[in-house]
Amino acid sequence: MRRWVLVVTLVVCARAQTQPDAGVGRKIFESQCALCHGQTGGGGRGPSLTRPKLSRAPDDAALRTLISNGSGDMPGAWQLHADEVVSVAAYVRSLGALPPEVIPGDPVRGAQRYAASGCAGCHIVDGRGEGFGPELSAVGARRSAAFLRQTILKPASTLPDDFQYISATPASGAAIRGVRVNEDSFTIQLRDANGRYHSFRKSELTSLRRLERQTPMPVYEGRVTGADLDDLVAYLASLKGKP
């Protein structure tokens, strides 16, 4: 039912004529947006907002719509009153005047480091690589550089809410490990490290383990360091997808 409420919020927002109050917007931002975008808008799981142009919100109307409705990973804030949305949007715009996130490192050298580290064995960038892990073609537009660094060093610390790494043991054989791609009350579908899909009826498994805070992505802490790490982060942060 919430889907319908969102539609309504949109209509309400479009009609809003209230003067924005960035102070009100900041208070709401810090309590409801900062979890992903950082306390001062510097980014985290969500992108940094300290930039004059926001790719998914080219103008103020689009920004207000994005705040109300959400998009992709971002939940809509339909609980906000129309003038609160206007104020949050004004505050987000004011963040654009802040200095952008500092990203040390050289993206060109980072691309070489990416290739040398075997990342393409699991990730696709611009159509090249293997698709076991998440596609990274636009990861720089979705995540902050600090978040990317953290993910490289300790991948299990930044897993999305709906990510599950599963060990399933069919009665007929050995355990299969894979990333959950779908699940319902009776069945589960996994993709293993070779990209092969497995479908099981849960009632036919001798064990179904959800491997909490585990991921097939290797830990690179201690393996990629110093300037190499800066370069790799700079490369990933530069991946903004197709314009």
Partner: protein, 522 residues
């Protein structure tokens, strides 16, 4: 061509004549499904017993019918014809094949807005030779059951300030009853009854009392005028006493009670109304001064049982607020109640059934985490009561919300909610079909589900319980133990109530999923 087999089928009874007495005795003709819940008592129980635990694994699709939009219909089946409805649409289908016999459509006005709910319809009603459909733009329409031609239509209320209808009407004796949606637009809710033959309004019961009426004192100032109290789920009926039982929705604005401190009668209540006059016989309020959008709009379930040594006629409700209640249905006296799902807003119920509310559980500006979420531990989709097992089966949601309070301004035809909700971070949700001992609410068994369900339950004399999941599973459980016996992937989210009937003596089960209505048989 499709009419020929039907005419053959019906040589023994007058086609399309569903007299009131047939609905009263619906349980004695289980080949049909004559009213929303299968019988007036709200049981959604089929006396058919051909499909059992031993053979349900062989259940297969007999036919499917595609619709133009999300299907939430609970069909009516009478005399070889299935009647279905959608948002401002209806159709008669040949029950052997699902082929259309007639269709009807009413244009949805361009300026119609559905505020706080989907563009759906949950079913038609039948009485005599008429099919009744409640429309989104708030008209009640009577169609000739044989042809689908309009007999009459009546404007129930103006849709522009936010009144709408998605429910299946309830046809009793010579009247058709409807209720309205609009609890998020500051409506003043009501239950209406219309003369089945003429469409003339027989009575209206306002769910928010006006000045001078009992209960008005529970609304400060003018707050009653925008008090909500929608009535968007079909009620139940006791033909012996001519009492109608109807659930009432949330007060408005939903999440900000500051302007309406008080109990806010009769929101979040069950009311018992005289079928002839609409006069209030009694009320029972589940959630006084609600601030979490916990409409009490459920199908009331009527049955008789021995309670503390005495035979009682009772009405039971598994409420959106996560408590299960058993009330005496002639007086509204509270007999038993307890939580059937996780809740964090009340310590329990006092000896009159009023909740002992935990302080600081109202929505706040910063957000307050409370179980259950705004859609509740269960909501509009139907429970099922099996007289064989003495169990009440309820699709149960285990889910929390962060509730926000915001300012609320009333403007006709706009969202008047005073806040909202968000999913808790990492928000774990789950669900279950739970079997409750009908007289006490004690949980006898549960079947765990992947996510919080949005579909109703059917139980059968074959010892089975049917329901559906968000992920498209339609499934059968053992009515005594909850053991899963059969499941089918429908390919669409299930947000509808199952029914059962028979075709040429073979038991069928029907469920809407996504935009498809499926009929299964052995």
């Amino acid at each position: 061509m499709t009419r020929l087999p039907i005419l053959l089928l019906l040589t023994s009874s007058a086609w399309g004549q569903v007299a009131y007495d047939r609905i009263v005795h619906a349980s004695s003709e289980p080949a049909s499904w004559l009213t929303y819940s299968g019988n007036y008592q709200g049981h959604r129980f089929s006396p058919l017993s051909e499909v059992t635990a031993a053979n349900v694994a062989r259940l297969r699709v007999k036919w499917a019918y595609q619709t133009d939009s999300r299907a939430e219909v609970s069909p009516i089946v009478a005399d070889g014809v299935m009647y279905v409805s959608g948002p401002n649409t209806a159709a008669a289908l040949d029950i052997r094949t699902g082929r259309e016999l007639w269709t009807w459509k009413r244009t949805i006005p361009k300026d119609y807005q559905n505020i706080g709910f989907g563009r759906v319809n949950r079913g038609p009603a039948i009485l005599g030779d008429e099919i009744f459909v409640a429309t989104l733009d708030c008209y009640l329409v009577a169609l000739d059951a044989k042809s689908g031609r309009e007999r009459w239509s009546v404007k129930v209320e103006d849709y522009r300030p936010g009144y709408s209808m998605t429910l299946a009407p309830l046809a009793i004796r010579d009247k058709v009853l409807v209720g309205v949606s609009g609890g998020e637009t500051g409506i003043r809710g009501f239950v209406d009854a219309y003369d089945a033959k003429t469409g003339r309004r027989a009575w209206r019961f306002y769910t928010v009392p006006g000045p001078g009426e009992p209960g008005h004192e529970t609304w400060p100032g003018d707050s009653w005028k925008t008090g909500g109290g929608s009535t968007w789920v079909t009620g139940s009926y006791d033909p012996e006493t001519n009492l109608v039982y109807w659930g009432i929705g949330n007060p408005g604005p939903d999440w900000n009670p500051d302007s309406r401190r008080g109990d806010n009668l009769y929101t979040c209540s069950l009311v018992a109304l005289d079928g002839d006059t609409g006069k209030l016989k009694w009320h029972f309020q589940f959630t006084p001064n609600d601030s979490h959008d916990w409409d009490s709009t459920h199908v009331p379930v009527l049955f008789e049982a021995d309670i503390r040594g005495a035979r009682r006629k009772v009405v039971a409700i598994a409420n959106r607020n996560a408590f299960y209640y058993v009330l005496d249905r002639s007086s509204g006296e509270f007999l038993a109640g307890k939580p059937y799902a996780k809740q964090t807003w009340a310590k329990g119920l006092d000896d009159r059934g009023r909740p002992i509310v935990i302080p600081d559980t109202e929505p706040t500006e910063a957000g307050k985490l409370v179980w259950p979420n705004l859609n509740g531990a269960t909501v509009w989709f139907s429970p099922s009561y099996s007289p064989r097992e003495g169990l009440l089966y309820v699709a149960t949601r285990e889910i929390a919300s962060i509730y926000f309070k915001r300012k609320a301004e009333y403007k006709p035809g706009t969202f008047f909610a005073g806040g909202g909700e968000a999913d808790p971070p990492g928000g774990a949700e789950s669900g279950a079909i739970r079997a409750l001992v009908a007289t006490t609410g004690e949980i006898r068994w549960e079947f765990k589900m992947h996510t919080a369900p949005w579909a109703g339950v059917l139980s059968t004399a074959g010892g089975l319980v049917f329901s559906g999941s968000n992920e498209g599973n339609f499934f059968a459980l053992d009515a005594k133990t909850g053991k899963p016996l059969w499941d089918f992937q429908t390919g669409g989210r299930i947000a509808a109530n199952p029914i059962s009937f028979s075709i040429d003596g073979k038991q069928c089960i029907a469920i809407a999923a996504g935009q498809v209505l499926y009929v299964f048989s052995l």
